[in-house]
């Protein structure tokens, strides 16, 4: 009797024991920092007199001051606009290519797939910093093969690290780095479609293109929604690539993306309060945008299903 009771007690406590490490780590490195960031975003340093002496600098409540400061910060707004423009290029192109490659991998009689699949996936293993570095050199007229070819053909040689082309140059790095992983996600869900689903369509004489458009793409729609969702989040957080391209060009401000702006405010200007408010705003904006997309996509899917 006692052993049975003890055993059932052991079973009951076991999941909590197994979850203990994750819970502690979550509390220390997720919950606490987020709470602290929110707390800091409502604080500021009050300087009395000349700011000299030990009691002259005091942390006090700031109300919404940091938030109004962040929202009226033109650097942050410009950064947000830049990243929105960048995201409007990156997300559709990257996922379009990922879907295209996944469909091609899934089609009949295609050759060299183990090689091409691995090659297209390869950039996943390459750090964003190294990717930006490699492409950065390929964008430099002095060392780039592209410019060499353009020169030989007497074609105009645009400056890829300035103005409008800079967006394309930056987007290209993200597309290059992200297509492979998304391709694998979509391809995996393509292969989970049972073959019988196509058989009827094939017997009716449907072309591969028709099968792809009418059957395959609708069936992988959930994984497309998911990749879209995560791509939006990742794109709004862009930091590594512009940081790495920065040393190669003068036309990239240190506040190019909102995250770079937060870094500047926190560690270069030393205003952690304003930086915390900005970080909170970015987090909220990211969640609103990505979940807004998810809700819209779900509603659409329900409508389609109801039709």
């Amino acid at each position: 009797m006692t052993t049975a009771r003890r055993r059932s007690y052991g079973v009951k406590g076991a999941p909590y024991a197994f979850l203990l490490p994750a819970t502690i780590l979550f509390a220390l490195f997720f919950a606490l920092p987020i709470g602290y960031a929110v707390y800091l975003s409502f604080r500021k340093v009050h300087v009395s007199g000349l700011g000299l002496g030990s009691g002259a600098r005091k942390e006090v409540w700031a109300g919404l001051e940091n938030y109004t400061g962040a929202l009226t910060d033109s650097e942050l707004a410009h950064g947000a606009l830049r990243v929105l423009g960048y995201g409007c290029i990156v997300v559709p192109v990257m996922l379009g290519l990922a879907l295209l490659f996944a469909l091609m991998l899934d089609s009949d009689k295609v050759r060299f797939t183990p090689f091409t699949r691995l090659a297209i996936f390869l950039p996943y293993a390459i750090p964003g910093v190294v990717a930006a570095l490699m492409w950065g050199f390929l964008y430099l007229p002095d060392v780039s093969p592209f410019y060499y070819v353009l020169e030989k053909l007497h074609m105009p040689q645009p400056d890829l690290l300035d103005g409008g082309p800079l967006y394309l140059a930056m987007s290209n790095i993200a597309v290059w780095g992200g297509t492979g992983f998304n391709m694998i996600v979509i391809y995996t869900s393509l292969r989970s479609i049972p073959a019988e689903v196509y058989e009827a369509a094939k017997l009716d004489g449907a072309t591969p293109l028709q099968i792809a458009l009418k059957i395959k793409i609708p069936m992988v729609a959930p994984s497309l929604v998911l990749t879209f969702f995560f791509s939006i989040i990742a794109t709004l957080q862009v930091f590594n690539e512009p940081m790495t391209l920065k040393p190669l060009t003068n036309s990239l401000p240190l506040t190019w993306s909102p995250l770079m702006n937060v870094y500047q405010d926190a560690f270069r200007k030393g205003d952690i309060y304003q930086a915390a408010a900005e970080a909170v705003i970015i987090a909220v904006a990211t969640l609103v945008l990505s979940f807004g997309f998810l809700r819209a996509a779900n509603r659409r899917q329900k409508q389609e299903a109801a039709r």
């Binding site: 079973v11 999941p15 220390l28 797939t113 996943y124 050199f137 060499y148």
Partner: protein, 301 residues
Amino acid sequence: MSSLAVQKAPSAAGTTGAAQGRPPLRRRIALVPTLTLVIGAIYTLLPVAWVVIASTKSGHELFSTFTFLPGTGFADNLKDLNAYRDGVYWKWMGNSALYAGLGALLSTCVSAFSGYALAMYRFRGREAMFNILLAGVLMPPIILAVPQYLLLAKADLTDSYLSVLLPQILSPYGVYLARIYASAAVPADVVEAGRMDGASEWRIFTRVALPMMIPGLVTVFLFQFVAVWNNFLLPYIMLSDDEKFPITLGLYTLLEQGANTPALYTLVITGAFLAVIPLIALFLVIQRFWSLDLLSGAVKS
């Protein structure tokens, strides 16, 4: 292993083609898909090929010869890289291996515990816990990294190995994957049988469940290894002593210094080339017994 591996795509060409004599090429190979994928592969391999070739060039050749022509300076570049600040480059590589290797190992353990608990037990607060953990995926790294830095500074832990290692142990995506693998690979009646035999929960986990979860856990390990190896923001915020830098941060500082001195370009390029070798090698080796599909959480039994 086989219980988790996703079945291979049917190899399309060859078998039927050979049997029917020599049918026209178009029937044996689907030209458009094959070409599209080959073009895609060329696009992804192009910068890698460039960095391989550029790393063989001396500083002079880099700016004077056609970019896809191999140079003669690889040995010298390597020597320069070794000599740069007493071989700090290799220190960075070692640091990256430590952060990524140890970090991914600890992360895999935590994910295995949590995923197993979430998959195999019914308990109060299970779904809430899972959802809260998953919400961690959605948190922008900056909203975590800045306060993490400030909090670790209070504990006097910034600019240390721990400051980069600790925040990356809990991986929400790893927990999510481990939960999927555990529920797919570990049959509930096997666990129940273990209980009937009077084995403790810990013993059932280590002796019965863990071996079944190994293929999935390899994926969690790889995923986290890549994530830590590629991370830049966290070490950039946490570290100032370049002896503790990982390779991403090291290369970045090298590039930053090299921006004004093109002589350092060859160092950066050679460094970038050597930095991508370990991960590419890791993937090529692991490809043989591991399916990429596992990364998306796909499991077939």
